[in-house]
Structure formats: structure tokens, C-alpha cells
Amino acid sequence: MTTDLKILLIDDEFDFVETTCKRLMRRGYSARIALTCAEGLTIIESAWPDIVVLDVMLPDRDGMDCLKEIKGKWPTLPVILLTGHASMQTGLYGIDCGASDYCLKPIDLETLVEKIVIAHRESRQQGA
């Protein structure tokens, strides 16, 4: 399994995002946290992440807006949406805006890791 992936988690739920980050690193992935969309964009600007996991509810901005900006500027960067409040509308809208996947909290790490690796692999293919 590829473990050299650089994963950016954008989520304001600090407890959740911190443990997820730690557990990803324990599995050999590189992971970083951004608590706001603006913070996330700065990290993406530096061309660091291979993939982004984005919460739909953010303090500074609507998550969908954030997604649209990311996909607008970096169309090949895969983004997985992660949310605690399921809504079919935002789910489908998210896919329309270019999200690779839409997942619900709580999610076990195993599943999240698979989704991350698969979304990353699929994003490589489309470029190829």
C-alpha cells in the first residue's frame, strides 16, 4: 500500500481532526491539519498536499464554497467531503463541484484510508 501520500485535513472539529491526523501518521502517511478554509488554502498554495479531506461545515466559510475554490484553482487535486450532517442535496452538489467522494462521520479510519487512496488513484488516472 502506498504510504507516501500527503493528506490535508480541513475541519474545525479539533478533537476529531487531531486524532485522525495522528492515526494517519502512525500508519506512515503524512498528514496536516487546517481548522479553517483560509488556512487550508494557504497549505494547498504551497503545493504540499496530494489529497484533501474537507469538512462541509467550516467556521469561516461555507464548505461548498471552499470546495469550489479549491477545484477552480487546482482541478486535479482530489477532495473528499466529510460531514456529520448527511444531506442528499449537498452530497450530489458536492460531486457536481468536483468532489471525489462524500463520506459521513463517524467513519472508521480503515474506511477513510481506503477512500483516500482510491480517490487519489482515480485522480491520477484521469490525468494520464
Binding site: 448527511a86 442528499m88 450530489l92 488516472q125
Partner: protein
């Protein structure tokens, strides 16, 4: 509409050709879309299976489950549609319309809410009747009915209605915070459950009452006190909307506060409202599919009865709705002593007909001991009065009743509550588990460890003993254990969905824990005196509650008598919402790809969409060859010792690197497709025994002779013979087989991620009459079921699927399918002969076990 097989035939027509390298590249990018589509398909089918399972096995779920699964499902299907359109250059844009229509329906169903209630914040008991359930809750509505329509004596009082509690919740903006804390709560993590529950209750108890509400409550309290006692004391009783209905009993789940004086009425009210979030109530609602915000906690405020003697009255025996007597449990003082199982009680059976004779009278031990020493006995006149009341209330409400009562110091009878006598399963006959006569005739039973006590919930359960003495033990209680306690406290109720059986040293049939045990279908024996000392933790025991016996170890003959657990969710609001939603999700209307109705605009459910997208994606992979000039040579004839009747198309990396792409043949040794090799192994492990011994003239049996039959010339195409193709890559295989009159399709992906892994199997048709074809499908279904497949059958078509397992595990399943494809052909012809069917089944199972033992991976 052209089917897959027509497409295959058209592959070989002449078209402009791509160079092998170009073809390979183009194919690869198509294959990757295809693969993503398969992953989404896999996710979608798994989600549907999970939802179907929720409906059928009675696992508890809430709205979050429905909303979450519907969302994940529609996202995956949306992705399938997009991948298909990319695969087919946008030719399936027509799928958007049915997809939007279905998801719109689902959104509406999920958004539906029960009607809101309107009216006064406080109602006097004199105004309340059974029609006001939506305002005052079931318990108070029934009590009002008893008072105002039946004309029996109930305590004076008033009800703080749903309007009152909504006002209180809204003013303090509590619901958002409560929902936040409940979000993602894991019911199996008891420690987390108790922490969250306590936190929410504190939040509610500490929120201030709105001034207008507090004033109104006190004004009504004052009116009760007009008779000018020194100090009026009241009882506050919960009456949640949704509790105590004929379908669902929340018996004792909520608080009752007794002897409340004026200064504490407001606080007591808030605490009862907070009781809505007691841990067992949270679990209870979740298991039964009530949304927390849809349950409104109304509270009755009733003048205290100065009780001399109190108890519970069943208008029929709890386990026999046709009994000719009422049952009365009585104890000195307040009724709570009987219900919480703590007091010594007497139990009477009293005839239901005039002159209401006492049939017998027994004394039961309570926690405080004493038992038969109780001096206060119910008089014959009081027993008769109670029996008469029981019969009247049953007649009025039209069902056996469970009644709480008190007789005051002046000898006046008060009814405190009347509700339908607990029915174990909504929608099922109110008779508890029938005592099978077979149980008495079982001769080879071991000697029980001990016997005795009272059966309070019938049935048989088996598990390791786990004694619970404190809330600390509560947290450690393992799923499937036998709960052993000294006293049946209501607090233990939250363990009942995890317990295999309950044994209590004290208590009787009226205890709250007994009521809940009956509802959950958990066998329970109370009053089994030596239980705590005679049993040891972790020892496996079988509890035959019906017979009042406990055995060491697992007693299979007894367990075979145990009925299945009831589905607690059935009939609840959330269950109904899921069932309604499922109408737009799982029914499969598109079963036949060759039908003219296999079109995008025929898709009526999400399942139809997945089926359509999958079928078309496979067709597209062939179609691709047609459009770009698929080389004749792309399909290689498989060589095993000699050329066989099987063809292989490599989609990506299914052949060894040193394979010569110009060759017309491919040797088995050149194939590196893991799933294909597993199927092949199953197909060839045993020689086919040949057609069954019936006349098969005219059935083209020639093509069935052997997988290694080398006599068939591939150049000859008869109308009966469609070629059998493996489409492969290293991890993927799609095999379509048309062997004579039946059609089979095996598809598998065995990759590095469980999310992508699956094996699916479709099977249809046969030459025999319908009945025999169905019997063959049942035979195959049974076998596949045994090996963990999820099987669905519609007419003579069957699909079986298994997903998210390890590659090794799935390879074993593929071997089984390979074997079945070869060895079950034509056995439909002999399906009329039961002896033959059994014989085939035995041989098949024996072969399969040999097959799996010889493989490298062990069976689990």
C-alpha cells in the same frame, strides 16, 4: 436494444483498426472509468443490503442511519452515472432524469415529520380524555379517559402538555445542543452513553423555566390545594407522547416523582422532562426508531394518594390473554414498591366473573425480605372490587389492561394508570412465546443446575453468566451474556438488548424489568434464590425460562425451541420512513438486459439504476472494440493442453508481459488474472459427471461434454453456441457463460482494498419446466447461502453477491462458482426427483469441501 451477446458477435465485423499500442492505451483509460464505476456499484449494493438488513433483522437504527445511507447511496449512483457517461461519450445523459426524480422522492420521504400539536400549555385532568394523546401523552390521556369516560376515581390534577415542554425547550434553545451531543453517539459504548445522557439531563434540569409557564404551573397547583390541607403534596408523572401505546411501551422508562411540595414543583417538572434522556430511554427510542425530537415529554401533576395498599392489576394473566382470572400484585404503601421489584408482595388470582372469587393467593419475596410475613392482606371485597375494575377497563379499552392502583387510608380505590398489557411484538398476536409441548418430551436433557423461581418472560437463552451488582458492572456487560442480578432494578433495562437471558434472585412478573424483557423477547426467570451464589461469572449456561430451569453448558435441543427475536423496530415511525424510502431503492424492475424495456427511462429505483449502469458499462467495454475497430485477435482462444471452447479478452494487465499479442491463442500459463484462475480452478477440479441420467435428446448436450473438449471448432458458430468469454485484468474478471439453456455471469474484483473487492454471480434459465428450474435455483441458492453469499431470487433469475472481503476469501468463493457453473448444468432436468436432488446436493457439498481444503487458503 442490443444485449451483451449481440455485442460480442458484432466484435468480429470489420472496422478501421487501431495499432496495438494505441488500442492498449485507449482501452486502459476506458478500463479505469469502468473500474471506478464498479467500485461505486459495489458501494451502492452494499449500502442497499445494509438497509434491507435493518428492515428485516430488527437492528436498531435512527433517522441518521436512513439519511446517511440514502445520501451515500445516491452519491455512489450519481458517480456511476458519470463514469458510464464518460465511458460512452455522454450517450446516457437520459439517466439524469430518472435519477433526479427518484432522489427527489427520497428527499421528501426523509423530510416528512409527524404533525405538530397545538393547544393549551396546561390542561386540568377534568378536561382530558383518550382523544388528547397528542397534547398530554398516552399515559395521561388514558388516565383522563378512566376518570371522565369510564367514571372511575383517579387523583385530581393537571397536565403540563406538549405545548409547555416545547415552550420550555425553545426558550432555552436546548434542542440544538442536545442533538449535537447525541450526534454519532455509539450505543454500544455504555460509558459514553451514560456520560452523554447525564450531561443532557443536567443541561435540561439547570435551564430556567420560562416565567409565564412557572406562574401557570403554580396557579394550577394552588387550585388543587383549595381544600386547604396543611401542605398539598403531588406526584409528578411522565407521560411522553408515544409512550405506553398499544404498540410500544416505555413502561417505567421515565421518572415519577412522589411527594413533591410547592417549592419543588418547578424543579421536579424539569427533572421529569430531563428524564426523556435517561440512558435506557435513549437506547429504547433508538432501538424502536423514535426520533428524539419527535417524542414530547408531557408531565402529569396529580394529588398524592395517602396509600394504605397499592399494586398492579392485570385484567388477564400476562402470558395468557384468554385466562379466566385477573392477576393482582399488592404491597403495603405506594405502587412503586411493586413495580420496582423491591417490596414483598402478595399475588392473587381472582375470577373475572361475579362474585369475583379469590382463586389463590401467594406471597413473594422482595428485596427487603419478609415474604409471607406481610400482615396487610387485600380483603376479599377489595380483591373483588379490583377484579371488577379490571374487567371494566378491559371492556372499555378493548384489550387486556395493565393497571396501577392505590387504596387510601379511607379505603377508596384510585386508578393511577391503565395501559394495554404488554404485547411482545407489534402486529403479532398478543400471546407470548407458546410453550411447546415438545419441550416436555425432550428426553435426553442433562440434569439442570437448579430449578425454581417465576418465569416472567418465556423462552430459552444461552450465554456466559455475567453478574451485575453496580453500574460499574453495567459498563462491562458483554453482548450475549446471561444477566444475573439480585434485584430487577429498572436501571438494568438498558442491558436487555445485549442479554441472552435474565436471572434475578428476587422480583416478580410486574417488575419493570420483566415488562421490558417480555418486549425484547429475552427469556427471564425471577425469584431464583440461589442464582448469585450457585453461578459463576463466565460459565456458559442455558436458561430455560419457560420451565424455570438453568443448565450448565449449551443445550441445543432446548435452544432449537427458542423463537426468533422480535423485530423491535417494526411499526415505529422511523421504520415506516425507511420502508417507504426502500420502495424507491431496492425493487429491481430491470432484470432482463435483452428486454426492450431495459432502458434508462424504465429505471424506477436506485437498484434499477445500478443494474442499468453496470450492464451498460460492461457492454461499453465490448462496444469500445466495435467503435475503434477491435482486432479479431483481441479475443484469444484459451489453450489448456489443447485449444478449449473458452475465449479470453485482456482489458489491461491480465496476461503475462511476455505474451505475444499477435497470437490467436493464450496458454493458461500466460494468464495472471487472480479471479479468473480461481474460477478456472473450480471449473476443472472435478471432471463433470456428464448429463444426468435422463433423456436429453435435442438439448444440444454436445456442447456440455467437457471444459476441455477439444473437438469443437471455434470457426463453427451454431445458433445455440454463444461463445464464453473471460474479460480480465490482473484483479478483475467478468465471465459470461451461455451453456445450452442457461446463462451465468460471474464477476469479481480482488484488489488491495476491501472497498473494491466483490464477487457477484447471476444465473438464469434452464431447459426444464419452470418448477424444476426454480428447484435448481433453490439448490444453488442454498449452497451459496451456506458459503456467505447474499442471494436474491426473482422468478427463475438469481443474483448472489459477496463483498468487502479479503482476496483469499473471495478466491475460495470463485472456486465454488466455477464448480457450480460446470456441475449444476442440466440438473434442472432431474429436479423433480427428491432423492436425486438430495444426492446431488450431498455430492456437491462434499466436492466443494474437498475443493476448498486443497486450496491454499483455509476456510473460515
Amino acid at each position: 436494444m442490443t444485449s451483451l451477446f449481440d455485442r460480442i458477435a458484432s466484435l468480429f465485423s470489420s472496422k478501421p483498426k487501431l495499432k496495438p499500442a494505441e488500442l492498449q492505451a485507449a482501452f486502459r483509460s476506458h478500463y479505469k472509468e469502468f473500474r471506478s464505476l464498479l467500485t461505486a456499484n459495489n458501494n451502492a449494493l452494499e449500502l442497499m443490503a445494509e438497509m434491507e438488513q435493518a428492515l428485516s433483522v430488527g437492528k436498531s437504527f435512527g433517522m441518521a442511519f436512513i439519511r446517511g445511507n440514502c445520501t451515500a447511496l445516491s452519491v455512489n449512483i450519481y458517480k456511476m452515472i458519470q463514469h458510464l457517461n464518460r465511458l460512452a461519450d455522454g450517450r446516457y445523459a437520459g439517466l439524469d432524469q430518472p435519477f433526479r426524480a427518484i432522489t427527489r422522492q427520497l428527499e421528501q420521504i426523509i423530510a416528512s415529520r409527524p404533525a405538530t400539536t397545538e393547544g393549551a400549555a396546561i390542561l386540568s385532568m377534568a378536561e382530558v380524555d383518550a382523544g388528547m394523546v397528542d397534547q398530554v401523552g398516552e399515559k395521561m390521556a388514558n388516565l383522563g379517559e378512566v376518570r371522565n369516560r369510564v367514571g372511575l376515581r383517579t387523583p385530581d390534577g393537571f397536565v403540563m402538555t406538549a405545548v409547555a415542554v416545547r415552550h420550555f425547550t425553545q426558550v432555552n434553545d436546548l434542542q440544538v445542543e442536545i442533538n449535537r451531543r447525541l450526534k454519532g453517539l455509539d450505543l454500544d459504548n455504555l460509558e459514553e452513553l451514560y456520560t452523554v445522557s447525564a450531561g443532557i439531563q443536567g443541561l435540561i434540569s439547570n435551564a430556567p423555566l420560562p416565567e409565564d409557564l412557572e406562574e401557570a404551573i403554580l396557579a394550577h397547583y394552588q387550585q388543587l390545594a383549595t381544600d386547604a390541607e396543611s401542605e398539598l403534596l403531588v406526584a409528578l408523572r411522565s407521560s411522553a407522547i408515544g409512550e405506553d401505546s398499544s404498540n410500544v411501551s416505555f413502561a417505567g422508562q421515565y421518572r415519577t416523582q412522589l411527594n413533591v411540595s410547592r417549592e419543588f414543583v418547578g424543579q421536579a417538572y424539569k427533572e421529569i422532562v430531563a428524564g426523556k434522556y435517561k440512558s435506557q430511554a435513549i437506547v429504547y427510542r433508538q432501538q424502536r426508531g423514535f426520533r428524539h425530537q419527535d417524542v414530547h415529554m408531557c408531565v402529569g401533576c396529580l394529588r398524592m394518594v395517602d396509600a394504605a395498599i397499592s399494586g398492579v392489576l392485570y385484567s388477564r394473566a400476562p402470558d395468557d390473554p384468554r385466562s379466566s382470572f385477573v392477576m393482582i400484585q399488592a404491597a403495603p404503601g405506594l405502587a412503586g414498591n411493586v413495580v420496582d421489584g423491591s417490596a414483598a408482595t402478595e399475588q392473587l388470582r381472582v375470577s373475572r366473573t361475579v362474585p369475583y372469587d379469590i382463586l389463590d393467593r401467594q406471597f413473594g419475596a422482595g428485596r427487603e425480605g419478609g415474604g409471607g410475613a406481610s400482615l396487610l392482606r387485600l380483603s376479599a371485597a377489595q380483591a373483588a372490587e379490583l377484579a371488577e375494575v379490571g374487567v371494566r377497563l378491559e371492556e372499555h379499552f378493548g384489550a387486556p389492561q395493565d393497571i396501577e392502583w392505590s387504596i387510601d387510608q379511607a379505603g377508596l380505590l384510585y386508578i393511577l394508570q391503565s395501559r394495554p398489557l404488554g404485547r411482545p411484538v407489534p402486529g403479532e398476536p398478543p400471546v407470548l412465546i407458546a410453550h411447546s409441548p415438545a419441550a416436555d418430551e425432550l428426553s435426553d436433557l442433562p440434569a439442570p443446575l437448579f430449578a425454581g423461581g417465576v418465569c416472567v418472560s418465556r423462552g430459552v437463552g444461552c450465554g456466559p453468566v455475567f453478574m451485575v451488582r453496580s453500574s460499574l458492572d453495567l459498563l462491562r456487560f458483554p453482548k450475549g451474556a446471561v444477566l444475573v442480578v439480585e434485584t430487577p432494578y429498572p436501571d438494568w433495562a438498558s442491558l436487555l438488548d445485549r442479554a441472552a437471558a435474565v436471572i434475578s434472585e428476587t422480583g416478580q412478573v410486574a417488575a419493570h424489568l420483566a415488562t421490558v424483557a417480555r418486549e425484547f423477547g429475552v427469556p427471564a426467570i425471577f425469584g431464583m434464590k440461589q442464582a448469585l451464589t450457585a453461578l459463576e461469572n463466565h460459565h456458559l449456561v442455558t436458561v430455560d425460562a419457560t420451565a424455570g430451569k438453568v443448565y450448565g453448558g449449551r443445550v441445543e435441543p432446548l435452544l432449537a425451541l427458542a423463537p426468533p427475536k422480535p423485530n423491535l423496530m417494526a411499526g415505529s415511525p422511523v421504520y415506516k420512513i425507511l420502508r417507504e424510502a426502500m420502495e424507491y431503492i431496492t425493487p429491481l424492475n430491470l432484470t432482463d438486459p435483452t428486454s426492450p424495456f431495459f432502458r434508462s427511462d424504465s429505471c424506477q429505483t436506485l437498484h434499477d439504476l445500478t443494474r442499468f449502469c453496470h450492464e451498460k458499462a460492461v457492454v461499453e467495454m465490448f462496444n469500445f472494440g466495435e467503435r475503434y475497430g477491435f482486432d479479431d485477435k483481441a479475443a484469444k482462444q484459451l489453450v489448456v493442453d489443447a485449444p478449449s471452447q473458452w475465449w479470453v479478452i485482456d482489458l489491461d494487465d491480465g496476461f503475462r508481459q511476455d505474451f505475444d499479442p499477435e497470437s490467436r491463442y493464450v496458454d493458461l500459463g500466460h494468464i495472471v488474472s487472480v479471479p479468473m484462475l480461481a474460477i478456472w480452478q473450480g471449473m476443472t477440479a472435478f471432471p463433470w459427471a456428464g448429463p444426468p441420467p435422463v433423456s436429453l435428446r435435442g438439448f444440444g448436450s454436445i456442447i456440455f461434454q467437457s471444459t476441455r473438449n477439444t473437438n469443437l471448432d471455434p470457426a463453427v458458430r451454431s445458433s445455440l453456441v454463444a461463445k464464453n468469454y473471460f474479460l480480465i485484468s490482473k484483479n478483475f474478471c467478468n465471465l459470461s457463460v451461455r451453456l445450452g439453456y442457461h446463462f451465468a455471469l460471474v464477476e469479481a474484483n480482488l484488489g488491495e482494498f476491501l472497498t473494491e473487492n466483490y464477487v457477484s454471480f447471476q444465473f438464469k434459465g434452464g431447459a426444464a419446466d419452470e418448477n424444476r428450474r426454480l428447484l435448481r435455483i433453490r439448490l444453488i441458492s442454498d449452497i451459496l447461502n451456506e458459503f456467505g453469499f447474499r442471494v436474491e431470487q426473482k422468478a427463475d433469475a438469481m443474483t448472489a453477491r459477496i463483498e468487502k472481503n479479503t482476496s483469499l476469501f473471495l478466491q475460495e468463493r470463485l472456486k465454488i462458482l466455477g464448480y457450480l457453473i460446470i456441475h449444476t448444468r442440466q440438473i434442472d432436468m432431474v429436479m423433480g426427483d427428491e432423492g436425486m436432488v438430495a444426492q446431488y446436493q450431498q455430492k456437491i457439498m462434499a466436492d466443494l469441501h474437498t475443493l476448498l481444503q486443497t486450496g491454499e487458503g483455509g476456510m473460515t
